[in-house]
C-alpha cells in the first residue's frame, strides 16, 4: 500500500508540483511572464487544440452512441454480431501506430483517395491530403471510438431491459427508446469516456508530430518543441497549465452535471 503511494507521489505528484512551480518561477521570483509569453506565442495552438479536441469529441460521441445503441437495441441479429466483431479492432492500437496509419491512409496518394477515385466518387485532380486538422480529428476519433463504445455499450447493457421494453410496448420506436430511455441512464459513462478521451488527446505527442508539419498544431507538439529546441521549461510548463485547465473545466462540467442529476433524484 505505502510503497505504491510513495511511487505515485515520487513519479507523479513531485513532477506535477515541479511543473506548476516552473510555470510561475522566473529569474526574480514569482512571475506570470511565462504564462503571458506562452499565450502570445502559442495562443493559436491553444485555440487549435481546443477546436480539434472538441471536433473529435463530437465525432466520438455521435459514433459511439450510434454503435453502442445499435449493439444494444439492434433488431438484425447478424448485423449486431458483425458490428460487435468489427468496431473493436483499433481499441489497443498504439497512438504512434495510428499516426503512421493515417500518414499513409489519408495522404494525397493514400488509400482513401485511391479508393474514392477508383469508385468514381472523386476526380483525380481534386484529390487532396487530409493531413491537417481533419486528419488529427479522424485519427483521434478512429482510435478512441472503440474505447468509448466499449464503455458505453457496457453501460447500456446494464440498463434494466424492462424499461426500454415498456417504452417499446407503449409504441416508442427503437430510436426513441435509445434517446429517451437507454442513453440518459448510460450518459454518465459516456461522459467519463469522453473526458478520458480528451485527456488522451491532450497527452499524445506522436500523432500531432507525425501529421502536422507547421503551425498551428496541438499544444503537446509545441511543448516538446519548446524543450527540445530552447530548453525553455518555463514556457513549456505554462503551456501545460493550459492543458490542465482545459481538462479541469471539462471535469467540472461533468461534476456539475452529476450533482444536478443526484439532486434531481
Amino acid at each position: 500500500m505505502f510503497p505504491a503511494m510513495t511511487a505515485v507521489v515520487l513519479l507523479y505528484a513531485l513532477p506535477l508540483v515541479r511543473s506548476l512551480a516552473s510555470a510561475f518561477h522566473g529569474d526574480d521570483g514569482l512571475t506570470v511572464a511565462h504564462v503571458v509569453r506562452a499565450f502570445t506565442l502559442y495562443g493559436r495552438d491553444v485555440a487549435f487544440s481546443i477546436g480539434v479536441s472538441l471536433g473529435a469529441l463530437v465525432l466520438i460521441a455521435i459514433a459511439s452512441i450510434a454503435i453502442a445503441g445499435y449493439l444494444t437495441l439492434g433488431a438484425t441479429r447478424w448485423a449486431v454480431r458483425v458490428l460487435r466483431w468489427l468496431y473493436r479492432w483499433p481499441l489497443f492500437i498504439p497512438f504512434v501506430v495510428a499516426g503512421q496509419l493515417s500518414r499513409s491512409f489519408l495522404s494525397t496518394n493514400g488509400m482513401m483517395n485511391t479508393v474514392l477515385i477508383e469508385t468514381g466518387l472523386l476526380s483525380a485532380q481534386s484529390a487532396q491530403s487530409f493531413l491537417d486538422w481533419r486528419g488529427l480529428i479522424l485519427t483521434f476519433a478512429w482510435k478512441q471510438i472503440p474505447f468509448v463504445t466499449l464503455l458505453l455499450a457496457g453501460a447500456m447493457a446494464a440498463v434494466e431491459p424492462s424499461h426500454s421494453e415498456a417504452a417499446r410496448n407503449l409504441g416508442a420506436g427503437r430510436l426513441r427508446a435509445l434517446f429517451h430511455i437507454v442513453l440518459p441512464q448510460a450518459a454518465p459513462t459516456l461522459w467519463v469516456g469522453l473526458i478520458l478521451s480528451l485527456v488522451a488527446m491532450l497527452s499524445v505527442l506522436s500523432v500531432p508530430m507525425m501529421l502536422i508539419a507547421g503551425n498551428p498544431t496541438m499544444m503537446t507538439s509545441m511543448m516538446a518543441h519548446r524543450i527540445t529546441y530552447y530548453g525553455d521549461y518555463g514556457v513549456a510548463n505554462a503551456l501545460g497549465l493550459f492543458s490542465y485547465a482545459l481538462t479541469a473545466v471539462t471535469a467540472w462540467v461533468y461534476l456539475r452535471l452529476t450533482l444536478a442529476r443526484e439532486t434531481q433524484r
Binding site: M1, P3, A4, M5, A7, V8, L11, Y12, L14, P15, R18, S19, S22, T76, A79, V82, L83, L86, Y87, W89, P90, L91, F92, I93, P94, V96, V97, G99, Q100, L101, S102, R103, S104, F105, N109, M111, V115, E118, W142, G154, G173, R174, I195, L196, V199, S203, V204, L205, S206, M209, M210, T220, M223, A224, A236, N237, G240, S243, Y244, A248
Partner: protein, 270 residues
C-alpha cells in the same frame, strides 16, 4: 416507419461494409507498405513486392533487434515493478478498513485524469539531475507510473470481486491468513491480476512520450524506431515496425473479455 425497416439488409450490408473499410482500410494500407519494394505515384498498388525491407530491418546492426530487446526488457520490468506495488495496494484498498480510502483511490486516479505530457517533461528534468535519463532504469520507472495506476485500479476491483465467504470458511477451518490469501483469494483474483499485468505490458510496449523525453536518444524502443523511420520518410520500415507493434495490441483486443469479466469490470473505480 421504424428505422429497422428503413435499414434493409442491403443498406445494413453497405453500412457495415463502410465501417469495415474505415476500420481495416488503414491497416490494409499499412500491410501493403510492409511488403512494397517499389510504390510510386500514380500506381494504385505497389509495383514490386517482396521481403527486401524485412531483411533490411532485421539486419544484425540495423537497430530493430536492440529496440525489440529494449522494448521487452522495459515492458517486463515495468510489469514486475508495478505489479509488486499494485497487488498489496489493491488488496489493502479492497479489504482493509482504511481511513481516507476515497482520497487514496483519487490519488491513484489523478495521473489518468490530467494530460501526462507535462509530467513526463518534468520527470525527465528530475531524472536528468539524478543521471537517470538515457538509462534503462529511467525508462522502466517512467513506464511503471501509468502502469501502476491501471494495475492498482484493476487489482482493487479483482480483490473486491473475490468471494469473502470462501475466505472466512478457510479461516474457520484453521488456515492461516497467508495461506488463505495464497490458496483462496489469489486464485479468484488471478484473471483480473493477469489482465492488469497485460495492460501494463501493452501500455509499456506502446509508450512513446515518456521514452521520447527520458530515454532518447540513448534508449530506443520500437515505437521510437517506428516514429523515426516514419519521420525520415521510410514508410516500409515504419510499416514493418508498426506491424510488429500491432501483434500484442490486436492479440489482447481479441481475448480481453476472457480476462476482464463483467463482475470485475463493474467494480473498477469503486
Amino acid at each position: 416507419m421504424t428505422p429497422s425497416r428503413l435499414l434493409t439488409p442491403l443498406g445494413l450490408g453497405l453500412l457495415l461494409g463502410l465501417i469495415a473499410f474505415i476500420v481495416f482500410g488503414p491497416l490494409l494500407n499499412l500491410a501493403l507498405w510492409a511488403f512494397a519494394e517499389q510504390w510510386f505515384y500514380p500506381h494504385t498498388l505497389p509495383t514490386v513486392w517482396g521481403f527486401d525491407f524485412w531483411a533490411r530491418v532485421f539486419r544484425p546492426r540495423a537497430g530493430a533487434w536492440s529496440s525489440l530487446t529494449n522494448t521487452l526488457i522495459v515492458a517486463l520490468s515495468a510489469v514486475a515493478l508495478s505489479m509488486a506495488l499494485a497487488v498489496p495496494a489493491g488488496y489493502a484498498l479492497a479489504r482493509l478498513p482504511l481511513p481516507g480510502r476515497h482520497a487514496i483511490m483519487l490519488l491513484f486516479l489523478l495521473p489518468q485524469a490530467f494530460p501526462n505530457l507535462p509530467i513526463f517533461v518534468n520527470i525527465a528534468a528530475i531524472f536528468h539531475q539524478l543521471g537517470l535519463t538515457g538509462t534503462l532504469i529511467g525508462v522502466v520507472l517512467v513506464h511503471a507510473l501509468p502502469g501502476l495506476v491501471y494495475a492498482v485500479w484493476i487489482a482493487t476491483a479483482a480483490f473486491a470481486a473475490a468471494d469473502r465467504n470462501l475466505e472466512e470458511a478457510a479461516r474457520n477451518l484453521g488456515a492461516t491468513p497467508l495461506r488463505t490469501f495464497v490458496d483462496v483469494t489469489l486464485p479468484q483474483a488471478l484473471p483480473g491480476l493477469l489482465a492488469a499485468a497485460i495492460f501494463v505490458f501493452l501500455d509499456s510496449v506502446d509508450e512513446f512520450t515518456g521514452t521520447f523525453f527520458v530515454g532518447a536518444p540513448e534508449i530506443t524502443t520500437l515505437p521510437l524506431l517506428m516514429f523515426n523511420a516514419s519521420m525520415g520518410g521510410n514508410y516500409q520500415v515504419a510499416a514493418i515496425t508498426s506491424l510488429i507493434l500491432l501483434i500484442p495490441s490486436i492479440g489482447f483486443m481479441l481475448v480481453i473479455e476472457r480476462f476482464l469479466k463483467a463482475d470485475v469490470l463493474s467494480r473498477i473505480g469503486r
